[in-house]
């Protein structure tokens, strides 16, 4: 196999002592970036570019490029490992891709299983990292062609499937879940419409041109909402502190997580390959799939380990998958990969169709270093679990102000406007009101993510077909996805009609 020989050369590059060090610095900073709210992977990588540039002066250009990109990519996938930490411990997602992890992760932490949750997140991320790398080595070329086949019609149908699957995020009432989904979709229409260029619901206020920032809304709803709830409801267990149990996941935990990790890795990888879909969607999809497949779906949202394992594997696998369009086509699928691409270009290494021919040392060195980096991350993260898990033992009178401070600091650091801080607080209050009336929050957040993608791709597809809706049925991939979406909704309904005991609407 040709790829294996190249990979072997890549390992020779990646195993040079200075590259090992660069990979280590990268994953270390990446973990920190992931854990600290406010510095997302995107700004983390962007701010490190000049630093790596001065660190590598003196090396010859090709080597400098390899070393820099090894470090920067380390930050990127390292952040995916760290991103789960605050979601699990504080219900405060640091990155949009770990919003779903809060659903079960925080519940686990409350039950004193923070250690298991953090450990499984690290193990899941590791497995996913390795799986997606193997897939990257073996499937890069065919998959990059598949990614190109994904046009607006296919994206629309995929997003429709995502929307149909929203039932997976419902709590007790399907009706409430749909209400929240629609509300999320409505919120997503705020801002400059990128298809027509028309400003919607902006009232000439320029901060609204870009729409509502997803992370601000999510942190407000989840983290602040939870804080308000804790303060106002003065739970009886005031003095009682959740104890951290064991750090190492039990055998049952591992057994329960194996399937979700495997499926999350594969699903995350394939979603990651599609430019624009990204890690956030991958994490949502894998969570929903696990809930659907689970024999005990009612446990989801109440602290089941599969609900942490699946999305955390998926978002890490997605970051591996996103390397395919970046390296083979020169098309960055996300903000962070766009910045990685900028860094490569600075070293005169142009990602794109010629990268593997012109700079095999850089490309394969990077891939090999990602194998090593993932191992480093696992070794680095397991001991950290023990330290981080201690946070949960903090009494709530210290913990709650800490969550508020971290949320506000984090949102302001990314958005740099007071508007977003106000928005954060407003959504905090709103999140409290919603969740205390049993409205599920996750469908709202999913609606907000899917809204622009579903709308823009539908209109792109219809523009190019001159308004003919058949475009969604004529394209084979799109047709398959639409059929899947329809079945997803209809099958439970039919089974219900036939008198089978299926959960569609428990409380109505």
């Amino acid at each position: 196999m040709e790829a294996i020989t190249f990979l072997f050369d890549g390992f020779q590059t990646a195993l040079q002592p200075h590259n090992l060090l660069f990979a280590f610095i990268g994953v270390l900073i990446g973990t920190a970036v992931g854990v600290l709210p406010g510095i997302g992977p995107m700004s983390g990588v962007a701010l490190l570019i000049p630093v790596t540039a001065s660190m590598t002066t003196g090396l010859d250009p090709a080597q400098a490029a390899t070393s820099s990109i090894i470090l920067l990519a380390g930050v990127y996938y390292g952040a995916m490992y760290g991103g789960s930490t605050t979601s699990i411990l504080l219900n405060t997602p640091g990155e949009s891709s770990s919003v779903v992890t809060t659903l079960d992760g925080y519940q686990m932490a409350k039950q004193g299983r923070a250690g298991s949750a953090l450990a499984i997140a690290a193990i899941g991320s590791f497995v996913a990292g390795i799986v997606s790398l193997i897939a990257l080595v073996l499937l890069a070329q065919p998959l990059s062609n598949l990614a190109l086949k994904f046009g607006p019609a296919e994206y629309f149908s995929l997003m429709l499937l995502g929307l149909a699957a929203v039932s997976g995020l419902a709590g007790n009432s399907m009706t409430k879940a749909w209400m929240m989904t629609v509300f999320g979709l409505l919120l997503s229409t705020i801002g400059l419409d990128s298809v027509s260029g028309v400003a919607r619901f902006t009232y000439d206020i320029s901060v609204l041109y870009g729409g509502l920032e997803f992370l601000t809304v999510a942190v407000g709803l989840f983290a602040l909402g939870e804080v308000f709830k804790a303060i106002l409801h003065k739970e009886k267990n005031d003095g009682e502190i959740a104890k951290i149990g064991r750090i190492i996941p039990s055998k049952e935990d591992l057994k329960e997580s194996a399937g979700p990790i495997a499926r999350g890795s594969l699903l995350g990888f394939f979603v990651g390959v599609l430019p624009g879909a990204g890690a956030t969607l991958a994490s949502f999809f894998s969570y929903i799939v696990e809930k659907k497949l689970s024999q005990t779906p009612e446990k989801f949202g109440k602290g089941t380990i599969a609900g942490v394992a699946a999305p955390e594997s998926a978002n890490n696998a997605a970051s591996g998958g996103a390397m395919i369009p970046l390296l083979t086509l020169g098309i960055p699928g996300s903000g962070t990969t766009a910045i990685l691409m900028g860094a490569l270009i600075m070293y005169n290494v142009q990602p794109g169709p010629l990268l593997f021919d012109e700079h095999p040392d850089v490309a394969w060195g990077l891939i090999a270093s990602m194998f090593i980096g993932n191992i480093m991350l696992l070794i680095l993260n397991m001991p950290l679990v023990k330290i981080f898990a201690k946070i949960i033992e903090t009494p709530s009178k210290y913990l709650l102000p800490l969550i508020i401070a971290i949320s506000i600091f984090g949102v302001y650091a990314v958005q740099v406007t007071t508007f977003d801080v106000l928005l954060l607080i407003a959504f905090g209050v709103f999140g409290y009101l919603l969740s205390s009336h049993d409205f599920p929050l996750a469908p709202l957040v999913l609606g907000l993510v899917l809204g622009p993608m579903i709308e823009n791709n539908m209109r792109r597809a219809l523009t190019s077909s001159n308004g003919d809706f058949m475009i969604f049925f004529e394209k084979p991939i799109s047709l398959v996805l639409i059929i899947a979406a329809v079945l997803w909704v209809l099958v439970p309904l039919f089974m219900k009609l036939k008198g089978k005991n299926v959960v569609i609407n428990e409380d109505m």
Binding site: H18, M55, Q350, R460, S464
Partner: protein, 337 residues
Amino acid sequence: MKKWMSFIVMGVAMFVLSACGSSNVTKESNQHSNYPTKPIVFVAPSGAGGGWDLTARAVTKVLNETKLVKQTMTVENKPGGGGAVFMAEYATQDKNNDYKLFVSSPPIIINNLKAEGNSPFGYKDTTPLAQLTKDFGAIVVKADSKFQSLPQLIDEIKKKPKSVTIAGGSAPGSMDHLIAILPIYKSGIDPKIVKYVSYDGGGEAMAALLGGNADVIATDASSVEEYVKARKVRVLAVSAPERLGGNLKDVPTMKELGIDAEFTIWRGVFGAKQMSDDAKRFWEDTFKKLSEHEKWKEELTTQGWQPEYKGSDEFVQFLQEQEKLIRDMLKSLGMYK
């Protein structure tokens, strides 16, 4: 093995030094005034990592390394509304702040003129100090496309406008759209008939082209070179005044094809509207020196940017011309404010 350690030590040291900057206030020898006496902020009105951000960081880095500016310079990111959020604040609260400059490009004109998502403030609410780089628009088709030349494409659009899908990386009424319609508008065809599909960024538009979901894309010339080299795409024309070099040397300009169209995607630095004369003089002088400095030329090469320097007056004149062109195009699209 000692060698790489020293690189790192050096690198870290350099980073720390540049972060601390030189806090000693020294007078510019050839200046009569003391300006600048305080640290200077360069604003990139976008998030980290975009074109404006890279430019701001490159400029401050070289100004610092070459000691052209001895005060500390920091780069601040002010994302939001495609720069409109920053402009609203800058034009009202910083109008005589000598110590805050920012980097911009044609959207500063476009956003001020277009009806939707309008930014009430434009370059006229600032002091344009210098243009530093240039790039051009390109009309690109897939390598196996039936379109061999721009006139052939325009002809097809004229005859069967619904059959040609043009994609770009930004919303209608913004830069990629204007580049797409430029040759069509200049050929005397109503640009409203053009079927334009917007994607979230040039990369996604390129993916649409390569995947057969768009027939043509409009983008910036520098970003297509690699695809030309790999024989994946064909560039039908560029909006430059004369032919570009490198992989695009065989691509005709729009002018060569008999279409009187030209569009420069510039990047430049702006200061506050009521900037003091001392400050203005200092920056004009500094950016001129910067544009001639070897270090800056090196930086341009590593970033893959084309140099083009225009001093303040010349830059203002150029902006006026471009503003007129953009206004005409937006009017013809019915998108003028």
